[in-house]
Subunit: 653 residues, 2 copies
Amino acid sequence: MNDREMSCNAGGQFMDRGRMNQNGVVQPLLTDLYQITMAYAYWKSGKIDDQAVFDLFFRNNPFHGEFTIFAGLEECLKFLDSFHYSQSDIEYLRQTLPEGIENEFFEYLGNLTAHDVTLYAIDEGTVAFPRVPIIKLEGPLIIVQLLETTLLTLVNYASLMATNAARYRMVAGKHVKLLEFGLRRAQGPDGGLSASKYSYTGGFDGTSNVLAGKLFNIPVRGTHAHAYITSFSSIGELKTRLLKHKQTGVMEDLLEHAVRHRQMLSHVLDVSTEESSEGELAAMVSYAIAFPDGFMALVDTYDVKSRDTEQVTQVLPQTDSKQKLSQPTMLELGQSLATLTPPTTPTLAMLNGHKQSNGQQFESSNGHNHVELATEPTTTTTTTISYSNGSAYLPKYVEKSFRSGLLNFSAVALALNDLGYHALGIRIDSGDLAYLSCLAREAFEKVAERFKVPWFNKLTIVASNDINEETILSLNEQGHKIDCFGIGTHLVTCQRQPALGCVYKLVEINGQARIKLSQDVEKVTMPGNKNAYRLYSADGHALIDLLQKDSEHPPAVGQKVLCRHPFQESKRAYVIPSHVESLYKIYWKSGKICQHLPTLEQVREKVQISLKTLRNDHKRTLNPTPYKVAVSDNLYNFIHDLWLQNAPIGELS
Amino acid sequence: MNDREMSCNAGGQFMDRGRMNQNGVVQPLLTDLYQITMAYAYWKSGKIDDQAVFDLFFRNNPFHGEFTIFAGLEECLKFLDSFHYSQSDIEYLRQTLPEGIENEFFEYLGNLTAHDVTLYAIDEGTVAFPRVPIIKLEGPLIIVQLLETTLLTLVNYASLMATNAARYRMVAGKHVKLLEFGLRRAQGPDGGLSASKYSYTGGFDGTSNVLAGKLFNIPVRGTHAHAYITSFSSIGELKTRLLKHKQTGVMEDLLEHAVRHRQMLSHVLDVSTEESSEGELAAMVSYAIAFPDGFMALVDTYDVKSRDTEQVTQVLPQTDSKQKLSQPTMLELGQSLATLTPPTTPTLAMLNGHKQSNGQQFESSNGHNHVELATEPTTTTTTTISYSNGSAYLPKYVEKSFRSGLLNFSAVALALNDLGYHALGIRIDSGDLAYLSCLAREAFEKVAERFKVPWFNKLTIVASNDINEETILSLNEQGHKIDCFGIGTHLVTCQRQPALGCVYKLVEINGQARIKLSQDVEKVTMPGNKNAYRLYSADGHALIDLLQKDSEHPPAVGQKVLCRHPFQESKRAYVIPSHVESLYKIYWKSGKICQHLPTLEQVREKVQISLKTLRNDHKRTLNPTPYKVAVSDNLYNFIHDLWLQNAPIGELS
């Protein structure tokens, strides 16, 4: 049909089928029953040779935005490639369809493949717009109809997810890492996998989902949960404290290093060692021993004293303030620290140089650790503080857990440094993320200076806890020092709009164009077999998408094209494109994938390249400018002549 | 631990593994990476023999309701049963985890199973409430921690979906059929499958998803789409019109019967044959020939004349009025009906007895069909009409497509009747569903009477088109005659709340209870290993759920139990239960499934039985009464003694 067809390599198949396995549930029966009953009725009516053209498109961009990222194409092609009813499928259909279905139909189904279908599509990862078909299928009516539901289910969520991820990437900026943490809240196990895959496509840097990592070769990331910290209640539980020095290979006592640094740090950070949790220190030491080169710690687990966080948590407006104010705090019950600590194990007090006997002294030490009276300036009402004065103290009204966590983390990180290792950073999972990240960054800078460990300046600060697009925007406004966001529920469920609403419409049958009229102009389909072009300005920005009848010549560079609003007669524009992109390629023809399929990594790059061609005003969060989708004058007249010819004229009497 | 343990058949395994296959993506790597890094750190810290208890629970009921249906248990058990890292999993982890992981750890992982884990759970399909664990796991800390994410992902969406479906069932009432039509809008292919499965669990009657039907033995339903109707443009396209009489076996011309009835029906229904579409008639005849015993037709495809629907569509308040007002209308373009109809094929005019020659006459007939001037009472402003006056006319201001569709459907249904078959009914996919369903029912009753076909009274009326819980409530208020709803997007994406938010919390380690304190009392966990009981009144209603320490004696029938609010000291109630249900059963122990697992059908029945034990005020849509969840006096004191003992006392100065 066009030049692109030439690129179809009839002799070979580009796709490495083994490269990435498709979920086994993607099969011809993953469809609505009515596709199969219709197939029988078509078959029975002798429509076996009817040729149809269907368009797959969406009517509205999601999330109140003005663009959509098209994703899911590779899955569609794999589906076409493997399209075949198994013997057990046929058996099931025989039992399930009404009695009286002719046997020949089942034979017909059993031999059906997608070999006679031709699939045109926009490249996966490209920015797409309402009404411009992202996929166009030509082929026998029955087969093309049978593909509908599966193609929709493969494109709908994939595109929604990639778009959502791309939006997060835009608000977070280029330099912040984004990790997908949503598996536990995803809609089913495969919903989780699709979320991981397409959030990566849309611009995320990795996922916590290990299987997604394995199947799609996506970076996987993760450290530990609060449960890890809380599984330790004292340093007595540390079965090993030794770690090999990275350079010398000599085994050293990491805990001893950590305790020594902790003592010094307590002055620098103005956090007394009694304010910080012993169990947390033990957990962090053990984690550092397991991952000396990958030490990243949660710093908000232990609330050692009473908390008074309201002043600081007011700073950040969030969707569910009740959730944001909450703070996990774990206290072990039923046994005192003293009894937990075997007599042969030193307590921190002993490590700190206070040699003492067991018993009363222990209780005193530990009791002190837990019930020391608070001395916070409870009258403080400041809601923001200046971060520029160079002061490194951690204000007393800051979440206690954070004070404890930051002290213990810094101590363990310095201990690791003694042994030749560099820690990675911290994760904050509660509280005022902007404020705490600034405090942490400031503390790290102070430690870097005082302890002469410049790499401390570059420690990573990860933030998680119910983050969405608005949270990130708000954090940006406040100023934050977060290097990485871990995002779950809002990302994977696409909470703001959980369905894209792609549709699949018949536009031509046996060479005759079909139009679907509707009271609602938005629902009127563009009739006939069409081509789509994207016209670019001299500065490389996309100006307009143009639909034409497939018999028309493509627009040419430097030549004026009349672009018309499909329905509003007076809305017209002449466009002289500096570059014309033909949006469709033949991806599937004669039973073969006709293009070299990009890797997931390449699709991910494509998303950013494609987004870059879009003017910023189309991409902004608030009131973005709609991108123009037009029809050629020829297509406009074709649509409207026939519309008028067919629409009835009312009579008033 | 309790009597239930006795029911564990150590010698055998109840579950027929072949009965229902689990999606292959449910495997140990379907988890967050941090579970595995934590496992290594636990292992490295010598915590290999630590024993833990974790609770899986949710904190809030979804959809502003006061109950949740627990679902997903069978999938969890299958996951435990097959829990094993494959060689390729281990290889992947070796490449993915930081360098320096000891080789013995991978060996340990390679030999890991869930055999040492014991899983207690509430029965699948039971009504569950916030804070009462629905699953409790005991076992080695490392393994139980490794199960977290997968169990959450299996329970979260399953329970959300089952709850959503149960709510639809409640508002629709017992006698209305509910079908799940959401595959194309689901979150990924398996999201669609889970939706089909758990909407059936929650009380739906079937799905359009064929694979779900095959895998889970759920009834599948479906007829045809608008595309089927619009693929026909004239009766000339009917390659066969013959259907065998059901009793006599004689082949008869179904079209001829239909056309004859259509003529008569046009008077009864006050719809002229010119107002109805010829292509639609052809499509319906062909569909009836394919499914003579299963004839159900979409009746809102063809808008033959101008439309004037605003008066009637105002009746139904809907979420997106723009969408509701729209109405699909398909006109074939680029060729007149006359040229489509081969000269050898009779037109309707000929079948109707108007013998005429080709050419001008055809054009006249067809032109008339399309451009006859409207004569509707456009001044009508009535927004509701009385359905009780027995008048069977279809008001002219009703959607034209519906007038056309109902006439054609009735004609084909009567034609089928002549040949010994009974049609099933109609589907309405647009417009004012309450109003149109009443009109259709009235029309069917009139036809039943006039044509002496009493079964016409019982024709099924199916409604689809973006239906949600509110739509059904609104339809109920207006009065409707819909027998069946087809529900998609809102059901499967759980648009009102797309995630349940189950959590998995450590409550005991090595025999020591753990409590997680929080500013937000809602987030405080119930410490220790607990049992849960549901206490019933004499009339069979559930009164309260009671959590106890697992060392306590169960509450006894007829004996007064003090039930306490877990956090509000003064909220106490004495309950004398007439029946006590111990909520937990051991479902998994020593590597075996310990209960006979119910079929999906049985779980579905369980949902309705369990919901019946709940008072109506807990179930109502608007401001339902919260169901009480209490702790025993013993557990109350245990929690609060330890809480006070551990929470610091502040000092004001």
